[in-house]
């Protein structure tokens, strides 16, 4: 592919994914040398619409955002969604769960009609996404691995097994033993089980594995005294846009 032209674009989010790219301190200069960054508003004044690879951060949450992402879809040959907000809709989807109109009313009162805000959706609801760098924040080494793979023309290796696999490999005591909720059994690995490594439960920020057995997860949590409500909170934190359904146990 030679030295590809790359655009980095921010939609609705916290800017943390772009920051993780800058946090590649040791490899940042190599990245800058390997690609030509032609669009990166947050770091570079000059910009052009001539790019082949688009790295997209954030969810689409406004009408203006829909127009922007479609334009990027028309120009870019390859789109990489970066971070939970772009990949699953992320935490932004809590707004949908609360109710769009209700949320506007709560935050903006009688000026709610001024607000351009639509139902939150991940990027792939509007354009074809070729690769996903999951997580909140994403793993910066995975981002660079995807870009490197695109340059040399190989498929990046992105895990599709549960976080428990990494967690076991890291020798952690299961956080269920401490009575904490954890989404590890149904969540996609690739983060090196960073939350359980730090004594916290997994929040499924990388999304769910393909065909997760959510009912088994619910039963497992019930064994440890956690309720359906706890389980739904867990699923919904980063995956509310993905419409996971759990059969509600009559006993709960």
């Amino acid at each position: 592919m030679g030295k590809p032209k790359v655009g980095i674009f921010g939609f609705t989010g916290c800017g943390g994914c772009q920051l993780e790219i800058l946090n590649l301190e040791d490899q940042l200069l190599d990245l800058v040398n390997a690609v030509e960054i032609v669009h990166f508003t947050e770091a570079v004044t000059e910009h052009s619409d001539n790019y082949e690879i688009a790295l997209v951060e954030g969810s689409v949450t406004t009408k203006h955002g829909v127009e922007r992402i479609k334009k990027i879809g028309d120009i870019a040959k390859i789109i990489v969604a970066i971070g939970a907000c772009a990949v699953t809709g992320g935490l932004n989807c809590l707004k949908n769960l609360y109710g769009l109109e209700k949320a506007k009313e709560l935050v903006y009162g009688d000026r709610k009609d001024w607000i351009d805000s639509i139902e939150v959706k991940p990027v792939d609801e509007y354009v074809k996404v070729d690769y996903y760098a999951r997580g909140c924040p994403p793993n910066r080494f995975e981002i660079i691995d995807i870009v490197r793979s695109l340059i040399v023309g190989r498929e990046p290796e992105i895990p599709n097994y549960p976080v428990c696999v990494e967690c076991k490999r890291n020798g952690n005591t299961c956080v269920y033993e401490f009575g904490m909720p954890c989404m590890g059994p149904v969540s996609r690995a690739g983060c090196n089980s960073r939350c359980p490594n730090s004594g916290s439960g997994c929040e499924a920020c990388r999304g769910l594995i393909d065909n997760p057995n959510v009912n088994a997860q619910k039963d497992l949590l019930a064994e440890y005294g956690l309720t359906v409500e706890d389980v739904m909170e867990g699923f919904n934190l980063y995956n509310a846009c993905k419409k996971v359904t759990i059969e509600k146990n009559k006993n709960n």
Binding site: L19, T61, R111, W114, S198
Partner: protein
């Protein structure tokens, strides 16, 4: 020299988030001058409703990637106050330590990556890799040091994991504390070199006195905790922020603006410096003096220099904190305190890198959030940014359009605005008068 100007910069680059600068001048008179914010709102106040005590700090850290530790700390403090939870002294010291390094990380990012290209007359840090490789390497090393500190204490550099209501889910080891101390000692060499670079930088000469507000504390150069204090002479308990901090909607602008004693005020590194200069370490004071920064300073562009002086202070004070923590001995039993969920209201106020940050939560009798209010530093600065530009533009009206545009962009960047943060409660509509 121009009589009429129609400047529209959309978006202003090298700031976090999306803001547009619009200036219309007719016959040398400003007809319109606004900093418009079309960034999409996120509704965090709605997201928080119904959440249990252990969730808000993880959720609100996602307001901003650059200042996630600040949001986490403001959130934990609000919840702890509401539920009457008292974290241990060890927890407070470790929080202050991680806090310093988010501030260092953010200040390095701003001074070197976002503002410095203006000092060298280029559009980004990328050309500096060729022309000033030593400066870029210093920036990357100092940033890495700060990020590694946050990783060691918080579990990762963006959105910390281990910092939770009541304490820490996991403590750093003593070996890690010693390693961090060494990293800090090693960073002085780069700070010295940065000082020499910054001494040669030409900071625009522009003064407009305004009200400067920050937190302030008798013990520390306050970042994590303190009263709210103004250069206009008032000081209040952080729980009473509503007595002074007001928000209003103004028709010529798109954002909620804040006011206290006057019609605008400034928050951020320069406000902290003006209120708390005396609490800086002697070493940081020496750096300030060498760079011509004296309190009170009314030149907004010097905010960048105040940010650099704070980096020096944070490195000095972190070494003190590490020695204290190691001296006391890291104690697992002091990592967490017991928590009883219940009802109550609490306010958490901290100094985010960009200034005063307020989280205000009310929990209901089921222990869930009933109401949340968040006030973000960048919102507090919008009114002051516009007032600065209204003062600056007539002073430079005889320069070329390009020079005026660049000066205004630099002025906006000097504030280091964080637009993603501010838009959780932004009123996104432009009304032309």
């Amino acid at each position: 020299m121009v009589n009429n100007l129609n400047i529209e910069v959309s978006p202003v680059s090298r700031v976090e988030g999306h803001g547009d600068l619009i200036i219309n001048v007719k016959d040398k008179k400003i007809e319109k001058l606004i900093f418009r914010i079309p960034e999409s709102p996120r509704f965090f106040e709605a997201m928080l409703v119904g959440k249990k005590y252990d969730e808000p700090s993880h959720i609100t850290s996602r307001i901003c990637g650059i200042c996630s530790v600040a949001h986490t700390c403001a959130s934990m403090k609000a919840t702890e106050r509401a539920l009457n939870i008292k974290p241990t002294g060890q927890t407070i010291d470790l929080r202050k330590l991680i806090y310093h390094h988010e501030n260092v990380q953010s200040n390095v990012l701003h001074v070197y990556f976002l503002a410095a290209p203006d000092f060298f007359g280029v559009g980004s840090v990328i050309p500096l890799v060729e022309t000033h490789p030593e400066v870029v390497n210093i920036a990357l090393r100092t940033k890495k040091m700060a990020n590694d500190m946050v990783r060691i204490i918080g579990g990762r550099a963006v959105h910390p994991i281990r910092t939770v209501v009541g304490g820490f889910t996991k403590l750093p080891t003593e070996e890690e504390m010693i390693e961090m101390r060494k990293m800090l000692e090693d960073s002085y060499q780069d700070l010295e070199k940065s000082l020499e670079v910054l001494k040669k930088v030409n900071i625009p000469d522009f003064e407009r006195e305004t009200e400067y507000i920050s937190i302030s504390d008798t013990a520390d150069y306050a970042l994590y905790d303190g009263n709210i204090k103004s250069t206009d002479g008032w000081e209040i308990d952080d729980q009473d922020y509503r007595d002074k901090i007001n928000e209003k909607i103004v028709q010529h602008s798109t954002a909620k603006h804040c006011w206290a004693n006057r019609d605008s005020y400034m928050v951020g590194a320069l406000a902290r410096f003006n209120n708390n200069y005396e609490k800086l370490t002697d070493n940081a004071k020496k750096y300030a003096e060498e760079l011509g920064l004296k309190a009170p300073c009314y030149n907004t562009f010097m905010n960048n220099i105040a940010q650099f002086v704070e980096i020096v202070h944070s490195v000095d004070d972190s070494i003190r904190l590490i020695d204290k923590i190691i001296g006391n001995g890291l104690d697992e039993d002091k990592a967490m305190v017991d928590i009883k969920p219940g009802a109550g209201r609490g306010v958490g106020v901290v100094e985010a890198p960009r200034g005063l940050l307020i989280h205000d939560y009310t929990y209901d009798s089921k222990g869930k959030i009933e109401k949340a209010n968040l006030i973000i530093p960048t919102n507090m600065n919008y009114a002051n940014i516009e007032k600065d530009m209204q003062s600056l533009v007539p002073k430079i009206i005889d320069k070329s359009e390009d020079e005026i545009r660049l000066a205004c962009e630099m002025l906006i960047r000097a504030y280091d605005p964080c637009i993603s943060c501010s838009t959780h409660l932004m009123n996104v509509k432009l009304i032309n008068n």
